[in-house]
Subunit: 211 residues, 4 copies
């Protein structure tokens, strides 16, 4: 009774749709955006070429549907807890959650980066919007702290973006570019260091001590 939706059985058409989405993700993960062909997706899905166009208008459409929910999840999970708890802990929680979701969707994030850089309008916008949402949220939070005299005297708008960038870019390097077997550091260790950097950089030492 824990808020779980009762599992409605999926209709035949929903099944096919999902199968195509999953197949697309698998192919995109392996081949990258530029290397993915519709023919690969349908082959992977087991359905036929024509079926693809029953469910998606074109190649870009399926892309958007794959990337979009991951970004929403990322935002929701990382920003949900924020503001409720104590200073250091709420930062740490946000960072750690971000890394967890990122690691689970590293392939999608790679695709997003590729697409946004390639001037694909839809993905470029998705990417920008998400980063701005993060920035604004962080900025709002820092401003609040600054009103309590807890922050150092720096440009909080730039800081908000820079710190968000730091975590995001670290995640990209750590989970996307780095081959799995080379990751010597574990997520808790990393989260702690990132949180230390974040907090040291903007908060006064006293503010941290007091929480």
């Amino acid at each position: 009774m824990a808020g779980r939706k009762p599992e409605k059985p999926l209709s035949k058409s929903e099944n096919t749709r999902n199968a195509l989405l999953e197949a697309a993700l698998r192919v995109l993960s392996e081949k990258g955006l530029a290397g993915t062909r519709v023919s690969m997706i349908v082959k992977e899905s087991g359905y036929s070429q024509g079926t693809f166009y029953v469910y998606f208008e074109n190649k870009e459409a399926i892309l958007y549907e794959i990337v979009s929910p991951v970004l929403d999840k990322l935002y929701e999970v990382a920003m949900g807890f924020w503001e409720k708890g104590e200073l250091y802990e709420s930062v740490r929680h946000a960072i750690r959650s971000y890394l967890v979701v990122y690691s689970e969707n590293a392939d999608v994030m790679r695709i997003l980066v590729e697409g946004a850089a390639s001037k694909d309008k839809a993905l470029e916008r998705l990417y920008m919007d998400t980063r701005r949402r993060f920035q604004q949220r962080i900025h709002r939070y820092l401003t609040a702290a600054s009103k309590n005299g807890q922050t150092e005297d720096i440009d909080l708008e730039v800081a908000a973006f820079a710190l968000g960038s730091m975590v995001d870019s670290f995640a990209y390097w750590f989970y996307v570019m780095q081959p799995k077997h080379k990751r010597s550091m574990d997520i808790d260790q990393v989260s702690t260091t990132l949180t230390d950097l974040w907090c040291n950089s903007v908060y006064k030492r006293e503010a941290l001590r007091d929480g």
Copy 2:
């Protein structure tokens, strides 16, 4: 007597080669990697289709030649001054130089990001290698400071990468994704904030005060 080499006139073939490289950069900047066709490059250059293949084996070859020197320049310029001066100033100089070169080559950096994300082996490696070079250099620098008791007690390896990422990712957002007319902040202002964040995050407050 200023040490400048007397400018040897370029041979005909060197001229053509350069013209193609420049045309390629223009097209890549406008269309992105995935959107660039050899036909566009030759049209832009004024040469014929066949001429392209006299000078470059294929599309990837010209790509590498465009991206590679920019990365070298970026490293050289940003890391050159490092270690010589006073703590805060040397960080600031590095960051500012990085941003300057980045802004002058924003288009190329976008291409690099797209290419590395797209699993193009050559560019992926170029990207990784460069980031690692930066990380190692920063790490070495932080370690030196830590031996003088100047750093906070954090994981310097992660810090090195995270701080490098912060600057790089900020630059990407600021110069690549952001349309020019929306950039309200100027480079000095931004450099200062980034330097503040950087220094606050790793160095002890005393160390900063003393230089």
Copy 3:
């Protein structure tokens, strides 16, 4: 009850495939291997350029499919009767059959010769293998006769190859190189002479008289 399979109607795709094969043969016959373009084949077939690549990986693939069955037929027809009948007659039957099938497939044989000479690995091997199969079969046959003391005292291995070559090369000249209107001799006449040469060259005169 005549053992004929009821003719299953060919599927759409089988039809297209066959149409391409037939068109390819026509073009290859007229233009030769080096002079044949995929564009010519599809034009001749009435299908579009893209359709070709739905059915065949590339030019070489369709080539192999055209040549290979002809060689099998040639071997089967020429060697099928062999050994059953009387000496002279079985040789004559084999030679005549060879010439008949050769004349019906002269164009294909020309292509095979061109392809094998051009160092196309697949065709070179096909050519070699077929010639060796013939040689071995003839050699076996001559050896059997030699055990009955019916052959002259010569190197039967060389003889086997040389006699096979004689018939094959004659057929090539007669049906491939010679323009049709210049062929004054008819197939029976020619078969008889070739059989005479063959038999005289290896068999003892007595053996021939006795059969």
Copy 4:
């Protein structure tokens, strides 16, 4: 003084021409006719692309110049001795000489076969003409023998072509198709067998015994 031409030193232009011819032969031997590019020839020769067209009108021209003299030599050497000596010996001498020259020019012969089969007009004609010259010569010789009652009662025109074909085709297989290391038989052995076949096939046994 044995008829050797006094070696006039070659002019510069003759040198270049020869260098190109030799380079062309090397490339053609390795790559086959269809696989040879003008660019390969000039690279092999060390001269430049433009130089090729100073000496040869086009690609076909150099081809003809390479093949033509070999055919002349083949005819001259094989047919020169003919008719002078005793029956068996003159046949054997002709066959052996043919094989010797063939083996020395196997690469060229392969090119000729490829070119003739490919419907290259010039080479097709060269090939046909040469084979006809051989046939006519052999035919004339057989007819002479037949007037002395030395031949079996068979169609001498067909025989002439068939026997010529036999030797030629054997040589092709032996020196062109067969990789060198697989040739177990030596030229004397082979010549003898071919001569035996030839003589047995057309001459009366008595004629052979008497010479």
